[in-house]
């Protein structure tokens, strides 16, 4: 009888310690997960910001300004455009 009790006691103690361990692990993992999530959100924000910045660098105004000033380009007019008819049955 005593032996059974001792075994049970040990089992209870082991289980209790294991519970503490699992609880600790779970908290640690959750905290890690939380950090990863925050990092994800930060990167997402960063990506959005970079997209906006890229767009701001490529607005028609900027592109036109650069094309005109640095590359000495101008708008094409129909007079300097050659229209090529697509070959019949070629591209659809």
């Amino acid at each position: 009888m005593t032996r059974v009790n001792v075994v049970l006691l040990l089992a209870v103690i082991a289980s209790a310690l294991y519970l503490v361990q699992v609880q600790y692990q779970s908290r640690r993992l959750i905290s890690e997960l939380e950090r990863a999530r925050a990092e994800g959100a930060r990167l997402q924000t960063k990506q959005e910001q970079l997209q906006v910045e890229r767009r701001a660098q490529a607005t028609p105004q900027r592109v036109e300004g650069l094309a005109r000033q640095q590359l000495a380009m101008r708008h094409a007019s129909p007079a300097v455009t050659q229209y090529v008819a697509a070959p019949a049955g070629g591209m659809q």
Partner: protein, 552 residues
């Protein structure tokens, strides 16, 4: 031994008290100390143009706040802070003086690099909070359509306001337990995930929008005008490809978000459409079989008296065909055609093409203009209404009404959002009459017409000029005009309708054909090229193949 037993007894009692009797109380205290409800903000949707280019998006920003009584800084570092925040030192000191408050915003939404420099100053009592700021990379070109938000991210104007609910999404929340260091260690209960705002895809084409805006700005500045608007509509889908106004504003700079330049004039300002109404009267007369395009009408001596009032032509003509009445924009001729019609028919037709009715676009402040019921029309009023006085409309309405001619007699529904498929219109006149009217509009933009400056290289155009004196109080203001032009291209099979309005041109020229038609011409030419429409007129090619001497 007894002591030990007693000790254990006390411990057991205490444990029973905590775990069983007082459990609720302790649970609650624990919750109060460690459980937190985190709000999970939804990110606001972006606004994109038809090709997916960003017109409005979110970027992180930091807001600077202070606990006034904690701030204990020497003068130089305060001065540095003030200069970093672009505010005067007195303003800063005033904000910090209020010692009763435990929280004062110093400045909202400064950009990240400035925030870092402020952080580096290390002033005690100055704190930062992460926020999001709305950024508009296109700046002032698309400002009137896109609109802007307030500092809390709520839409105030334009699409930002009209679609505020879709853009905002819904904030979520989660209940968590935090440890001593503020780390989340456990989540309890159900999470409500945030619902991010939807992206709104507009029908605008960023390039067309920019180009139209730029040409409009140039014209407004050249002619010393007060303001101007331009609208470009896609005939097939009813989409608004460009809608620009000048003067405009930078939606990202919060300090100048007041005043006149905020108005989206193309939608909110109405004016008397003047001569641009004449094609409608003629189209209706053709439809009713009252006239044919070749019918001759006597307009000499350029004057017509009706009920005590006299209607005059600026340039008196003789006998004109109906075609020529539109081409030369004769008031007398138009009135003679209009007076053969019942007021009711005219009113019905005007209403059918959208005059006096609010356009079906989800836009704050869009107006419907004024069209009085036909029962109250006196003959002279019917006469003046035939050439566009005594009723009012916005430029947007006018552009849409012209789609009747461009779409072979169908009035198209307009949309500020991208449409996947061509839309069905509402038939108002037959295709034959629409084509006949288009021919007249083409003549108006051709030799002998009032709008020769609307011509483009390569594309045939058609349209009608209008010049209206501005109303001031009850009468008309002297020397204050609006010049406008509404037209379409290519004329045989129109792809776009473009309407241009220049408000109060001040440098001598004020006729629509002089101030607005050139903007139309350049916008049409550029837009059609962007759409890949092949020129329908013979163009003298200027392509010079430079032959290079071959070297051996």
């Amino acid at each position: 031994m007894a002591c030990l037993a007693l000790g254990f007894g006390v411990l057991a009692g205490r444990a029973a008290y905590i775990q069983v009797i007082g459990n609720d109380f302790f649970q609650k205290q624990g919750q109060v100390r460690f459980a937190r409800t985190l709000e999970m903000p939804a990110s606001r949707g972006r606004i994109l143009d038809r090709n997916g280019l960003i017109l409005a998006s979110n970027v992180p920003a930091r807001s600077i706040w202070a606990i006034p009584e904690d701030v204990d800084a020497d003068k130089p570092s305060l001065r540095k802070l003030a200069s970093l925040l672009e505010m005067s030192e007195e303003d800063l000191v005033r904000k910090l003086q209020d010692e009763d408050k435990s929280f004062v915003w110093i400045k909202r939404q400064v950009d990240e690099s400035t925030a870092k420099q402020i952080d580096a100053l290390g002033i005690k009592g100055i704190h930062q909070r992460s926020e999001y700021r709305r950024q508009y990379p296109e700046g002032e070109f698309a400002a009137h359509v896109v609109g802007f938000t307030d500092v809390e991210g709520k839409g105030i104007d334009g699409i930002e306001k009209a679609f505020d609910r879709e853009l905002s999404g819904r904030a979520g929340s989660r209940r968590v337990i935090k440890d001593r260091l503020g780390r989340v260690v456990e989540s309890v209960g159900d999470d409500v995930p945030p619902l991010d705002g939807r992206d709104i895809v507009l029908s605008l084409d960023s390039k067309t929008q920019f180009f139209a805006w730029q040409k409009l700005r140039d014209a407004v500045q050249t002619h010393g005008a007060k303001a101007g608007s331009v609208v470009v509509l896609d005939v097939a889908s009813g989409e608004v490809l460009a809608l620009a106004n000048f003067p405009s504003y930078q939606p990202g700079r919060r300090q100048n978000l007041t005043g006149e330049q905020l108005r989206n004039r193309a939608l909110t300002d109405t004016f008397e459409p003047g001569s641009t109404m004449k094609p409608f009267v003629v189209a209706l007369a053709l439809q009713k079989g009252l006239v044919r395009p070749e019918t001759l009408i006597q307009t000499a001596p350029g004057r017509l008296t009706l009920g005590g009032a006299t209607i005059t032509d600026a340039h008196p003509q003789g006998v004109l065909t109906v075609n020529e009445i539109i081409q030369k924009s004769s008031n007398v001729g138009t009135v003679k055609i209009a007076m053969q019609m019942a007021p009711r028919d005219m009113w019905e037709f005007y209403s059918q093409v959208g005059f006096g009715q609010k356009p079906q676009v989800p836009f704050p402040g869009a107006v419907g203009g004024r069209l009085r019921p036909y029962k109250t029309w006196r003959p002279i009023e019917q006469a003046t209404m035939s050439y566009g006085y005594g009723l009012s409309a916005s430029l947007f309405q006018l552009a849409r009404a012209y789609s009747v001619f461009a779409r072979d007699g169908e009035l198209m529904p307009v949309s500020l959002l991208r449409q996947a498929d061509p839309v069905a219109g509402l038939r108002v006149i037959s295709a034959q009459e629409a084509a006949a009217t288009r021919k007249m509009l083409h003549m108006a933009a051709g030799p002998g017409g009032t709008a020769q400056k609307a011509q483009t290289i390569g594309y045939s155009v058609g349209g009608k000029t209008g010049t209206a004196r501005k109303q001031e109080g009850k009468g008309y203001a002297a020397k204050k005009y609006r010049g406008f032009f509404v037209g379409m291209a290519p004329i045989e099979n129109p792809r776009i309708v473009v309407a241009v309005m220049i408000d109060e041109p001040g440098n001598g020229k004020f006729y629509g054909g002089d101030v607005a038609a050139p903007v139309f011409s350049e916008t049409v030419q550029h837009t059609l090229r962007l759409l890949g429409v092949q020129p329908d007129m013979a163009v003298k090619p200027q392509i010079v193949a430079r032959s290079v001497e071959e070297s051996f």
